[in-house]
Symmetry: D2
């Protein structure tokens, strides 16, 4: 049964039984809770895309392990074509949901562990790769979602893991047993945490020789004893509680992140994929970072498509779509959006095989892609706000449109170009608000800065990967110094 349906996913999630808190309340069913439901539905679209005829070819592929059809979100990429298809699938998901749909971090983590467990084994004569392949087969066959858990709380960031006063500020092994290990710590802003089946945990940074306890990678089910999820807040999140819910802007979808606490969680040996090989933590992080930084040139570009579309539509509704400066700004938005996408595609095109046979993207271009993503959506959002107008933050509630006493006023004075168009115009404006100032902005803006590592992380990697030597050699030759 490799391909699960959207409804099977939703039903399974309802019965999952993991320990979730949302704004101080224990939540039984994350599917129907109004705050988490949009994130669940966004994730569910990854199943839906695999089922619909127009997108099936993009969302499914063949397992290199079993030869069976699988969801591409569980696929180990084995060529630059695979890397390209992933980017295109992520853009399509962004267009469908205008949200973080949360399944790509797990995908990128699967690909990372596939490559890196192989490399650890070669260097340390361990057996992680076979374990991981067995685990991967389980994921593919069950069409399961593993949430990638990477970022630690970090405590005092000027100190390394072993230097922290509270040593739990980085997740670590606190006990080694014959049949497995016990881990303690927490992972922050875990995307899709509360609506995934599995947690796939990896280190968050390069580690020193004396930090072996922190060099740990493993998987546990979301229901593992000792695991607690605390859902994070997003701008305007409580609009989801309003009846009607139209003011939420994006009426179906959203993203979510959570704090995931590991309070002395036992991990059986077969689910441990790294344990003590601190020399390989840096490699693992960089491999994941490259994959995931390229991903942002897919998903955020898809969200950008929606934002551009909403902005173009609202320009029409206001009668300004022919104005030269509006056309110029729309073209600029497209320009910036495609710039991110182009570099992501290039990172895939220049992908190379790892020792395991799995492909990884060109790390320099992947970092360049992501550094653009930390900047350009802010400019796109600014231009969207420019065109949408001040009503973005001054418009009454959509509910007011039907109000006995003021409904007629609202309809009349928010009609825009066409009488009777107030509903369309107001909804579009709310969608733009969602993406630029609301729950969508959590994903489109802030996550674009910090997801897959902050700008400074990309700057450092670009500096390291820049290969200045040959560039200097060219310069020395041309100026006659050599």
């Amino acid at each position: 049964m490799p391909l699960k349906t959207r409804d099977e996913y939703l039903d399974g999630l309802r019965r999952l039984g993991h320990r979730v808190f949302i704004q101080g309340e224990a939540v039984e069913d994350v599917v129907d809770h109004p705050v988490s439901r949009p994130a669940v539905l966004a994730m569910a679209e990854t199943y839906q895309g695999a089922a619909e005829s127009e997108t099936k070819a993009l969302f499914t592929t063949t397992s290199h392990l079993t030869g069976a059809p699988i969801n591409r979100f569980a696929h180990i990429q084995h060529g630059t074509g695979d890397l390209v298809q992933k980017i295109l699938m992520l853009r399509e998901m962004g267009r469908r949901t205008a949200s973080c749909f949360q399944r790509c971090a797990g995908l990128d983590c699967l690909n990372t562990l596939y490559a890196v467990t192989f490399e650890i084994d070669r260097r340390h004569a361990t057996e992680y790769h076979a374990r991981f392949v067995a685990y991967l087969r389980q994921i593919q066959e069950g069409d399961l979602i593993p949430a990638a858990c990477m970022t630690d709380p970090k405590g005092d960031r000027s100190l390394s893991p072993a230097e922290q006063r509270d040593r739990d500020q980085y997740l670590r092994v606190v006990e080694r047993r014959a049949d497995g290990i016990v881990v303690r710590g927490a992972k922050l802003h875990i995307t899709g945490a509360i609506n995934s089946h599995e947690l796939l945990v990896v280190p968050t940074r390069a580690l020193r020789e004396d930090e072996k306890d922190y060099a740990v990678a493993f998987a546990v089910p979301a229901t593992a004893r000792g695991v607690t999820f605390v859902h994070g807040r997003q701008p305007s999140d409580t609009r989801r509680l309003e009846s009607g819910r139209a003011d939420v802007g994006n009426v179906y979808f959203g993203g979510c992140e959570a704090l995931v606490v590991f309070d002395d969680v036992f991990v059986p040996e077969k689910r441990v994929f790294m344990c003590g090989e601190s020399d390989m933590a840096g490699r693992l992080v960089e491999c994941f970072a490259a994959h995931h930084r390229a991903s942002y040139g897919g998903c955020k570009v898809g969200v950008g498509d929606v934002l551009i579309g909403a902005t173009a539509a609202v320009a029409e509704a206001q009668g300004i779509d022919k104005a030269a400066h509006v056309r110029d700004k729309l073209a600029e938005m497209v320009h910036l959006n495609e710039t991110m996408h182009g570099v992501a595609l290039a990172s895939a095109l220049k992908g190379t095989p790892t020792a395991s046979g799995a492909y990884e993207v060109d790390p320099l271009l992947a970092n360049v892609c992501k550094l653009n993503v930390t900047r350009l959506p802010f400019e796109i959002a600014r231009l969207a706000q420019d065109i949408a107008g001040g009503i973005l933050v001054t418009m009454p509630s959509l509910a007011d449109r039907d109000h006995r006493q003021v409904g007629e006023y609202v309809k009349k004075y928010f009609a825009g170009k066409d009488d009777g168009a107030s509903d369309l115009r107001m909804r579009l404006v709310r969608l733009i608000e969602n993406i630029t100032l609301g729950p969508g902005a959590a994903s489109y803006l802030t996550e674009s800065v910090h997801g897959a590592g902050s700008p400074q992380a990309q700057k450092i990697m670009i500096g390291r990967l820049a290969d200045l030597g040959p560039k200097k050699a060219c310069a020395l030759r041309l100026c006659g110094a050599r």
Copy 2:
């Protein structure tokens, strides 16, 4: 009694009795309603500033009409020093409230009408100026707040007022009586509308000869028959309804805008300041725009101060304040913030007297100031988010900190650099969220784009004021063509 106290303002507002709707509900008392209260409190700070010893000199001055001490928010500026002091007062208000405090549009409108009624009289032999001076005296003596009402709904923006299908899309005179006029229409995104005493209404654009009905300026009390206020939504506005309210970020203050409907409102003759002089509408708009565009180099810079302060404090709480890239980004934020302020001050320094004796700012520099304000806060906000980190949009509720089951986890894993500092750190992060993605962003970002006219309006004015002739003459001489 020219100087009202903060409490007198609040008490008076409670009893005002105007017709206000907030999210589909008729509201009796805007002071205690949790959604509107922050805006009321921000406005109230303009009275408080005039009362406190350290700020009294900045917030008060002497009426040129009566010689009595008045709040500077009701003062007609009579020198470049006055213009400069206004900018400095607005910055101080921004620092106090990190919000739109709503009283400057009225101030700028008073100054505009003072100058322009004088000029209309000179051209049309009318008597508006004397009427307006009488009105102004009332405002100064009562220490009252008039909300400036300028922006019309505009309907199809590719059409001028007279071309609209629904002629009410621009507010207009629908009846002329012996004792006054009757007006119909609406004004959009009126800042401080629901917590002002008066409405000061002016046209929104230059008008043609055949658009005399739209060339109307007047004042009515907020309680005038036929006037209805519909409060606008802002990002995360409903967090104000939560008990505790800590997640709102800015625990005291906020801004507000409203739709103000004029459903056949009668205006007595003595409160009419322009009626039919369509040739002067453009001058009025440009005069107001210059004053108000310069204002943005005060208020938004003050909000920027708070955002920079919050970002610097959160950097310390996370142990990253010594990192070179963090210091560089903080310096960049200061640089951008002061750039806006510097140009605003320069527009005041180069201010000139109008025929009425009141001063107006240099219009070119005022427009340059505002065009920078439509851009630079977005970059400052991006840098703030960069330094604050992903927790900006993934952090649990502050209420979770005290939760029986998860409180300890939250305290432990959001402590940052110091054990026990989680409360401080989380509050700072919520404040940054407020200013960059929450209700504060409505003011700091979107209003920075659209308030006092959209970027394109500034571009057009800069093009018109650029005085290219002498520049071309310099060029022709230097290249030897002349």
Copy 3:
């Protein structure tokens, strides 16, 4: 003999006998004239690259016409791999020469005419494609260089070709004979004009029905009767006349453009590839533009590599290479440089076949690539100047280093980090001057703005290719309007 050597090219060019003027002087031998020699040498590197073992695979390929090995600069691309290889070859040429090497416009024009003559034939039942294939075979077999001649003088740019007072402001057919046509007009800023064997002339814009005379494409040899070349000036061009020539910065290479006048030039029928099909001029221009705009993400990126290398080397020579801000700026330069390259590669990756079988790049991404090229090199240049320091424009001549009276002063005070390093440092600084303010800047900056069409041309194309419909549909669905 499809592969010519560098020396064969130089020898042939010496004897070519075309009519060339450089700064008011008729020039017999463009190879040895100090002003034109660097451009000749840069072009010659396209032959050299095909001969050297390390680059042969990149610079040569197999003719799809003859199966013989040819220079890739004469190849019709028949797959996305071909498109990608072209971009990589152009980057390599940029690294070798830090100049415009002038052969890519001809290449892009060959590919355009191959595709478009096929399409004209299909629509107009003409026979241009076969003629063009015969011509192409000649180019490939002779390893000849055709200079693409596109841009007309345009006269009053607010008027279309047929509206000009001087109808010659756009090149046109002035006579149709049995055996061919006679053309009159001029082409501006023709890259590599004076050191190419052939001129390949095409229209510069979409044309109206009544502008058939302007719808003309053809080839003539550089020696055709009536053809005159007037070489253009570049910043610091006369430094090439100085003995020593070290102050030129780039000691070997440069670019060149020329005015090419067609004073009633006869073109035999077999060399006419379009004549009167005004409906196809727009298609031809857009096809060329897409190819050529993508090219800029190769060549300018290669020049950027040299500039980055020179900057890194000079930072070392000054002892500032470890400073955090210098490392950050170098990483930023790499980031911007790779952004351009990534989008170019993506335009190749998403290339599609034309009806002729030849491939063309994705036009949206090609335009996005070029629009970035009109901006980012200016920022890279600014950062290079920032790191290089003020000596860029205040440093004495390199010749002063050996001067009897002041040589020791210069050596001592420009040594930088290491005694005796003044020569290296001064040469590097001159190279940076060359690329950012000298002859190299003509190519790296100004040509980056205008080559292959000005920014506004890209903006218009991006607006046209943006495909807003599906984007709007996504938005309407997500906001609940559909």
Copy 4:
């Protein structure tokens, strides 16, 4: 005789007799040497401005020492009005010359030494201020120009002065005599060095306790024994040698910098203004930096005016001045230009008195002004090139216009909108080339980056002056933490 005429200045300079080398040649008369003449003429305009009736009020003022009329370029500013007038005068000079006119660094240095010698005396009980006042009186009475000499070669920039292998890399006292001191070292990129009467030498950085030898400030005449000037190169400098000289673009003016070598130069005691007070070097540098960084918001803005004027004029000549994107770009250029100016004016407006009574500008705003100057001219230049078109770097020589064989071609095909307008258009294009890629760019671009300190110096000062404490306090209060 406090006010010298332009001609008196030129005559005096011819007879000065200092030791100058230009490109390896000893030069007797810098007034008539074609390379240095434009710089001399630009400097001479500071005298001319004081003589012309329209500008006399701006260029002259009253000496606070003698009460006599003096050139404002020798004035000690004693109020914010003086600070403002200086900025306005510099802008006017920029408009007159489109060049660095070289006299402001000396002016800023005079004001600095006036303030700082007073402060040194107070701390160290020295007598520098009286000496300096005597010197200043001489400058004012003779209407003399002192060139400020600040920047040392610096050798290995990762090392402080005392750590350098070659200790002469920072200018220092090598001998202390009864009647004065002997100094050795060099100063780099000294603006106006070869055409000033005096050299005013100051340290280039804060110094440590053990670096007293470097803490030296003094004045010597340009003719002092041991002083040698080596003129620096600029882009396209040798176009000045061409007959006709039209291709130089700016037909009259230019700037210049030089290496000034002090080879054991004796300074009599009365001309020593600091000697050993290393604790005050930092204060001196910061005071000068603030004055001079504000100056850039005058002079470069004036050059920007000319560039904008040339661009607007060439747009007309090409028939594109009505195009929406051209108008938008011109408005953007004005916007950026006025942004720099506004912040400079604000730094003057917020100026404060030093202990000496002389005023200094607000240092935060002065640094913000300069940091903008390191960026915005590059964007203005890019936009100018965008509008001017590719002919900027492909156009034949202006001399070709009159050439017997090709003159008619050039006239016809560079006519632009109007027949016969080719001369005007070509000259304008050459002027734009001059300012963005030629000798003018040395001043408008590179010097904008590095003059008065590099961007990083401004970043550091902004960080230091940012006053984060009160900003943090605002934030803590508003988020409820205090």
